[in-house]
Symmetry: C2
Subunit: 313 residues, 2 copies
């Protein structure tokens, strides 16, 4: 059964679920949702486009649905926030199987359930490519709010986990290489570091998620905080499978980590006096200016390069 | 100059503006926006897709930008709310002219300025078709909140203005007919009825905007309010140009009004005792069940038919 067989309203009926949260006065089914709010609200939107962010022969519909939620939760997590509501805007080809939409929605629901997010609205349009635009709102306590602009000279720089998996996973699938089970799963099923963020946001002076590569993200922090940084190359955590794949392809695993994307790990800076209170992997330090990569015996200026959707073919 | 010449980050620099509202702690430029909130919040998202909602040879980029904001404001207005923030998610072809994006953003800004909306975030991805997904939040006072489910037996049904323009305008452009200046402008530059909503929302028991045709919208109200309705056909306001065009094409102007779409007028129901306090055009009445169209000499059951993106070729 195709979408064009049941139409927009047939589809909406299949995917509408009642909201669970008591603060939702109006959920799916009216012109807009209405919720009770107070305090600081975090709002973010991120989009997945077929061919750019995912390929239907690589990802299952469920994985696409989950990824769409995770990448938005990751943005909320990087602000030190807790997500609560989602709006889902879908553009779908009319010849797409309804089963695909059902399974993708199962992915939305499972990931939303995990994070206690209510889907309170959305809309569906027709397009040639599948496009999923999600908006998530959340709340944040003032003392947990972690901006790109909060880094201070002398702060230590931490990562929540190994990076380079995003680019390595993409290369794995592009080159149709077998094996690398863990890496494959990490790429196809990325996870937002929300629990991690809850543990470090109180102590972090600045935070960002690694969506376009470490080099690009540290530059955002330094630009916005008016500071510099030094990163110790040998401290950058990279999984064995990522190193092995890079070797196999005669590529550089550090390039994956520095200039790749879609890792969704958190990069954050913490004052030295709080370093024993935070978890994570210390990879460097905030300085007064310029961004350097420290090798064993030399210091090189970090290239300003990250994943750019419009520069990739 | 094409988007691929300046990339995602080049584009983001051109379109980032600082927020003006004092309640915006973090606007464009971090992983998410952060705003102070309290009370009831309205949240909606609507999408414009090239080829489905607009054609680039019909609309100027500025008109596309304005329409994208207006259709979302219309959803907030139909809840009795006041918009305040927007997130803009764009999917753009890499060969698109940067000038197109600049001009479209000028449209976003002009419409947002008109409604005192701050654009606080968004994202840009690459796609084959232009897709604009906008999320708008707003506030609403409890006494102004107008749901689809609030209609009461005996309420009078009102429209904020003439309908049928959406479908008529589409037909005008599809058939490449000259003239019809007012109709053309109404189609290419639709306006949300926010000021109108402010005047009637306090009195309205239910409200919806006409985005998929009157027949479809009255059915939403009746389904959600568990009631019926009768609409007097000769009271449905239709502009002369719409009638003239329908005649010219040997089509029925009432079909445009009943089963067309994209009119963005408001349909609302008001208790009889408040009828002298509201503005608008009375077209019918809420009954206990079934939806009828009343002609001069007979009563016919309203067809359940509206604009469906997936049923149109």
């Amino acid at each position: 059964m195709k979408i064009k067989d049941i139409g927009e309203f047939g589809l909406i009926e299949r995917i509408s679920k009642k909201s669970k949260k008591k603060d939702v006065l109006v959920g799916i089914g009216d012109d807009a949702a209405v919720v009770k709010t107070k305090g600081l609200q975090v709002l973010t939107t991120d989009c997945l486009v077929e061919g750019d962010h995912f390929r239907c022969d690589w990802f299952t519909p469920m994985q696409i649905g989950k990824k769409a939620i995770e990448i938005n939760v990751s943005d909320v997590a990087s602000m030190g926030g807790i997500p609560n509501y989602a709006l889902i805007s879908l553009c779908l080809p009319k010849d797409l199987d309804v089963d695909f939409v059902d399974e993708m929605y199962e992915g939305f629901w499972q990931s939303c359930e995990k994070y206690d997010i209510d889907i309170i609205g959305g809309n569906i349009s027709r397009s040639r490519q599948i496009m999923i635009s999600i908006m998530i709102t959340g709340t944040v306590d003032k003392e947990d709010l972690t901006l790109r602009s909060g880094a201070k000279h002398g702060d230590l720089l931490f990562l929540s986990g190994a990076i380079g998996n995003g680019r390595a996973g993409l290369r794995l699938l592009q080159e149709e290489i077998k094996g690398y089970k863990k890496l494959r799963k990490k790429y196809l099923e990325p996870k937002a570091k929300l629990d991690f963020s809850k543990k470090v946001s109180f102590y972090a002076n600045s935070m960002i998620d690694i969506s376009d590569g470490l080099a690009s993200e540290i530059k955002h922090i330094c630009d916005d905080s008016n500071c510099g940084a030094v990163i110790y190359k040998d401290r950058i955590p990279i999984d064995d499978e990522v190193r092995n794949l890079a070797n196999h392809l005669s590529e550089d695993a550090f390039d994956y980590a520095l200039y790749g994307g879609e890792d969704f790990e958190l990069l954050y800076s913490v004052s030295k006096e709080n370093k024993d209170d935070v978890i994570g992997i210390c990879i460097g330090e905030i300085t007064s200016r310029d961004i350097f990569l420290m090798l064993k015996d030399k210091k090189i200026r970090m290239k300003n390069q990250g994943y750019d959707h419009f520069f990739i073919d």
